[in-house]
Structures are given as C-alpha cells and as structure tokens.
Amino acid sequence: MALQDYIRSRFFPHIWCVGCGHGTALNALLRAVETLGLDPSDIVMVSGIGCSSRMPGYVDFHTLHTLHGRALAFATGTKMSKPELTVLVPMGDGDALAIGGNHFIHACRRNIDITAIVLNNRIYGMTGGQFSPLSGPGVVATTAPYSTYDPAFDVMRLAVGAGASFAARGSTYHVVELQQLLVKAISHKGFSVIEVLSPCPTHFGRRNQQGDSVEMLEWLKANTAKLGSKAAEENPELITRGIFVEDERPEYCEQYERILEQAREG
Amino acid sequence: MERCRLVFCGSGGQGIVTAAIILAEAAAIHDGLEAVQSQSYGAAARGGVTRSDIIISDSEINFPKVVQPNILVCLTQESFTQFYSILRPGGLMLLDSDLVEPGMRVEARQYKLPMQRTVQQEIGTNVVLNLCMLGALLCLRPVVTKESVLEVVKKRFSERFLQMNEKALELGWSLAQESAPSSGDQRGSAPRPTH
C-alpha cells in the first residue's frame, strides 16, 4: 500500500499548528505500519483527548477517539475482545500521565500487547498552554506564570517500573530512528511504550524562549543523545534516545487463552 | 403450612449465612415450598454481628425480611444481646450454651445446647457448628425435612467435607432429642418466661 492510502484525506486539513511535531510523528508511524506490511483493517487506533489524540481521525484504520486519559482502558477492552488486532494508542503527555496515569501503569503491569505512543510536548496544547506532569521545573505556562516547580515524570523509568516489556524514546528531529523504533515497538509482543519528544512551538516554545519550530528541532538535536553513546556518557544532562527495555514476558491475552483452556477442561 | 420466619445470628465466620441458605434451599428446591433468604452484615469478614433472615411458606413471599421471628438462633453473646428482643413472644430460641449466657428472662421456649463443644469433641473442629445447629433446629421444629437438608448438603460440599457436615447435622439432631427447654418447659407446651 502507498503511504497516502493510510490517510483519510477527506478529513484534512488537520488541526495541528504549523511547526507541531505531531505530523512528523504520524508520518513516522505510518511508515512503520507500511514497513510492517500491516492491513489497515487489522489495526485499531484508540486515543483520548488532546492535540495528539486527534490523530485517529486522519488515519484509515478502525479508529476510536475517546475520553481524556482513558484511551488505554478502551484499548484494553478492544484488544482483549479481539486479540488478533494490532492496537495503537497515541497519547499526549497530560493525557497519558496526568489524568490517565492510573490506566497507564496498569496497562504496563498487564503487559497487554498494545503500543502506547506518548507524544511529549511538555505542555497542554489544546487547552492553551498549561503545564503538564512532563513539563518539569522552570517552565513558564499559563498555569505557572512564575514558572513551574513541579518535578516531571521520567516516562521510561515509570513504564519500566510499572512493568512495560518494551520502552523506547525518540524525537521528531530523528525521524528515521523514530520510524525504526516504532517498527520495533509495534512488532513487540507485549505492552510497548514509546515516548516521542515532539515540539509545541505555539504554547511551549513561545513562552519559554525556545524560538520557532526550526529552533526547537535544533534544541532536540543539541540536547539529546543516543543511549549508550559517548556523548550521553560524557554529558548526563542530555536526554537519551533509544530502547530502554526490550523483554520477553508473558503477554496478557495469551495468558487469558490459558485460563480459557483451563476452564474448558474444568 | 403456616409461614415460618427465622433469624440466625452470630459472628462472621461461624457459617450463619451458609446454614440459612441450606435451610431455605432445602425448602424451596426439595420441599416444594416458597423460601427467601437474606443477610445483613458489617464491614468485617470475620467477627462482628452477622444476621440472616429466612422465611418459609407455602404461598408467595413479598416482603422478605423478618421483623418478628418465630425462631431465633443466637451463636454469640453479642448477637444475642442485639436481637433477643425481636423474637415473637412464645417463639423458639436456640442458643449455644457455651457461647451465650442469656442472664435474663425471655418469653420463649429456650434451648441451650453445647453445640460448639460437641462438634469440637466429636469431629475435632468447630467449622461445622452451623450444620450442628441446623440438625438441632430441625429436630426441635421440622420446618423442612432432614432428608431435604441432606440433599442440599450433598450438593454443596465436596467429598472431603461432606462427611463431617453430615455428622454434625446428626450430632445436632441427637443433642436436641436429648434436651428439654432450659426452663423445664416441655416441647409443645404453652410458652412462659424462662430463667
């Protein structure tokens, strides 16, 4: 299939701002799906509420746009009821880790075969620039005019600690690498979390003197490094990219099949 | 038959509710009667006061709770204190003689039987106290047949526990047969205050 066949062009233009990283992330995601040769009728994309959660509308999969924070709970029902489906869940940082934090850790714990894509722009974009649990201290936001003092979650450590069997971080500057990470995340059998650093020039960049989208991409280039690289070792301040965990562990739906067998045998 | 209203009370873990279900199920399924069973309990799974209501009748039962029972069974002091007063005057009261000391006059035919002590001695466990109580009750007042209760017991318990439950039922029956109301009342005679 050609890449544009995965798109519902009928519903374009999309709502994202000029310079938003989410379009780039979607591009990488669709290329990953294409690489894997998946049939769009076998894919369900489930999302919550926020800028990134509008993604399902634009892709020609089975798509379910739900409630703020609840995407993984809906997705868990979809996957458990029809395990042969590939389930992709794009989420914003607030969506996934503030209001949806409980569903996030429990999805990790179950190790259900769903791919959670956390599009991290460190801000609530759709509601107009409030800080999120991934903003971190020292950020100016509409609800932190004097700057934030809230510590941030480390998504990778949280996911791994909660039991995700695959966790990786990429950025929308490193597009080819992101596409490769997404291929691995989707093919992984178990719960995979992929954090995508995605700039929000409108609400984050503007208030925090990070410049326009090009400057924000350059910031990603300058402030991240590959996991295990020399640069990362020399400068622990750099945000690391790459695969943090890739474990083989019992997958939830497969475990349920065993229960079904056990119950059938009585 | 006349409508029979029973209240079993005791503490969580004594099998009060199980005994109530067995009795009501025996009536409903095996004796062709109408029966309802309900329970009320607090937050504690063990301890605390547990109460179960049973109504057995040959006609439809709408209001399912028991306000004034004909039969009251108390297996702890606390539950006795809480519920002794609801018994219909002249009703039947069955108590465990080691677990409850009434210490007051109750207008009832009162039976105090050493049920817990007996099952502990004869079977080596008090988990079957509830079946012993049922056996005693059925002997004193055959609201359902013993055979029907045994049918339910057979269905309910696995092979491993069946025998001890059946034995407990028989022990209770025998205890009641040998007993007389603690006040000296004869079974079937006019009720009068005890103690």
């Binding site: 746009h65 458990m80 029809k82 409980n102 079904l260 009585g266 | 279900i21 069973q37 049918e151």
Partner: protein, 386 residues
C-alpha cells in the same frame, strides 16, 4: 409437603440471576471492578465466562471498566459491567461517551446508601435521578429495574435487547435487597425469551459505509472493528462518518436523534406490572425492592376490603408518564413507595392530573422499608381506618 426436585429451579441470589441472565442474552465480554453490594455479579462472571469461552477482565477502576466494555462492544461483543453508587458516579463521563457514540452496553447498578461511601452493605434507591441525569449534557437514557429473581432475569435480558435495538447503554438499576436476596429462579429454556442479535450493516466491502447515518426506522447497523469497514468513533459531535464536526445542522440532527430514538419508542421500552388497579381508589406506585413491601401491604389490605392497588414500574427511564397518568386517573390517593428522599415521586406528580393527591412513603435509614412503614403513611393520608 411434596418432595419433587426440579433441575430448572435454582435457589439463587439476585446478583447471580443478573449475571446468569446476561450470559443467556449472549454477553461475550465483561469488565468490572469489585464493589459491595454488586461484587457477586463479577465473581459469577469470573467463574462462568472462561468456561463458556467468553472474556472476562478485572480493570483498575470503574472508569476503566466501562471504557473496556465499550472497546469490546466495538469489536462485536455484547458487553456488561456492574457496580454500585460510588462506581456508578465514576462511570458517568464514560456513560455519556457511550450515549454519544451510540455503543450498546449494559451497566448494572446495585444501589446502596449514599451519598459518598454511604452505606456499603445496606439498601437504598437513591440513584434514580443519577441514572437519568448523572452524565452531563442533554440526553436520553434507558433504565430498567425488577423486584424479584424471575423479573430480574427477564429485565436483564431486556436490557441487552434494548441496548442492541437502540444502540445505547442500558442501566439495570437494582438495589442491595434484590441483589443479595436469595429465592427461586425458574431458569428459562434457551429459546424461551427473545434475544435480540446485533444488527450489522449489509453494505458490502468497498462501498462507503456511513456508521452514523440512521436507517429510515432510526436504527444504525454496526460494523465490527476488525471487519472491512473502517470508520471513526468519537465523543465529539460527529457527522455520518463519525468524524468530528461543529456544523450546526449536523449537531442539531444528532442531539435530536439521540433523544428521539429513545423517547419516541417509550411505549416499546415501557415494562410494568399491575396489581388490583381496576377498582383501586388508592394506587401505590413502586419499583425494585420497595415494590415487594408495597405488594405485601396491598394484598394484606385487600383481604380487609380496602381498595388498594399497585403499579410496579420496571422501566424507570424513559419515564412512562402516560401510563402513570392513565393508571392513576381514578385514584383518590397516589402513594409512591421508594427508598430515597423522593425521586420517582416527582415524576409521578408531573405525570398525573392531580399532583396534590400524590404522597411519598419512604425510608432512608439503610433499613429495608417495611409494610408497616407504608401502612403508617396510608393512615396519615386516609385516616385511622387503614
């Protein structure tokens, strides 16, 4: 005493009846979170569903439970969850989603005393208005109830049937008394009760399927996630493809459709029972557990020649106002019996010709309302002779 054993008669608790009826209706997926006094429904499903090859899931909370069954309904399963007051409160936003996205699902609320944690092990009927208006925004909703095991079985099957027919969540609003009361259930034969199958689209693959374009009869045939029709589902106002819109014409059409599909079928959705109404000059109106006490007093006073009757509502929402008006037309006194501070009584007052003749007999202390409680109210209304 006869000593006959009938294998089809079970001596079971209301909660088990509800679960068994859901299985009878074809529930293929259950997700839930334990809460007193509804947990036995979930425990029964946990035991029975795997043995039947069906799917059961314990979620992290009630929000996730309702979300999960919606996700499963979209893949083609009949679905259910069960809860009680605090859990039902948590479900309200997701309930609204199911209404908006028109997802068939059944939610059982075994009511307990509220507000807040309230009385976990004791009965109340305080969630009647919550079932109607708990989620935000204008909407219509179906809520059914029952007062005994046999009716509860039928109403639970009906709940699934209505959920499929109208593509909407249906609430089964029972209470602690009914949920925990054990009595007989005559298990219906497999084909004895009507079971409505999911209506799936006949639109062939490759032809544009409009998931949100109602047929002339108002029904919306579905397509399962995983089949060839791929479409969008959202809680936003949406067009016939399920894509978000702010077009005023589309919005107006959708809100009217959501309400009309239920309100216009009121006569098909209404279930009730009546006792001694033909010559009753005092009509009791009740539902759920309270109806048992009401029926007790009605039968008891009929023996003394009092013209007392009972209208037992099994459909609470949409409220059968026309039925109530008709059945109360000859009544001098109308007494609503319910275990709350007055909920259905307000609907009855709005429905009848003489609202000044409507009284409330209630009990709100956690104890089950007794026939004596009702009798005392009748005495005040009708004089000492009751």
């Amino acid at each position: 005493m006869t000593n006959k054993t009938n294998n089809k008669i079970a001596f079971v608790q209301g909660n088990e009846v509800c679960a068994e009826a859901a299985l009878y209706a074809g529930a293929g997926f259950y997700a839930g979170y334990p809460i007193t006094p509804s947990s036995e429904i979930m425990e029964h499903m946990a035991r029975r569903m795997p043995a039947m090859g069906r799917r059961f899931l314990q979620m992290e909370d009630e929000i996730a439970s309702l979300a999960a069954i919606i996700g499963a309904s979209l893949t083609g399963h009949k679905v259910m969850t069960a809860t009680s007051g605090p859990g039902f409160s948590l479900m309200q936003e997701t309930l609204g989603f199911a209404i908006m996205a028109e997802i068939p699902c059944v939610i059982v609320n075994v009511q307990r005393g509220g507000p807040s944690t309230g009385l976990p092990t004791q009965a109340a009927q305080g969630d009647v208005y919550q079932a109607r208006w708990g989620t935000h925004g204008d909407h219509a909703v179906i809520a059914l109830t029952a007062s005994n095991n046999q009716d509860l079985f039928e109403m639970t099957v009906e709940a699934f049937n209505m959920a499929e027919t109208y593509r909407t969540p249906v609430i089964v609003l029972i209470d602690e008394v009914i949920g925990h009361l054990r009595e007989k259930l005559q298990m219906p034969d497999p084909d004895e009760l009507e079971v409505v199958k999911r209506l799936r689209t006949a639109v062939p693959h490759g032809v544009d399927y409009h998931p949100y374009l109602p047929r002339e009869d108002g029904r919306l045939p579905m397509s399962d996630f995983g089949d060839k029709h791929r479409y969008n589902v959202t809680g936003l106002y949406h067009n016939m493809w399920g894509f978000p819109t702010t077009d005023p014409g589309v919005i107006d059409g959708l809100i009217h459709h959501l309400i009309d599909k239920i309100e216009n079928n009121l006569h098909q959705i209404t279930r009730y029972k009546e006792y001694y109404l033909s010559d009753a000059d005092c009509v009791l109106i009740s539902y759920g557990c309270s109806a048992r006490s009401a029926l007790h007093i009605v039968k008891n006073r009929r023996q003394r020649g009092m013209k007392l009757g009972l209208l037992e509502l099994q459909t609470l929402w949409p409220f059968p106002a026309g039925l109530v008006r008709e059945k109360c037309s000859g009544a001098q006194h109308i007494v609503v019996v319910e275990m709350n501070m007055g909920q259905v009584v307000h609907e009855v007052k709005r429905a009848v010709d003489h609202p000044e003749r409507v009284y409330l007999a209630n009990r709100v202390d956690g104890e089950f309302i007794t026939p004596t409680n009702i009798k005392n109210v009748l005495r005040v209304i009708m004089g000492r002779g009751v």
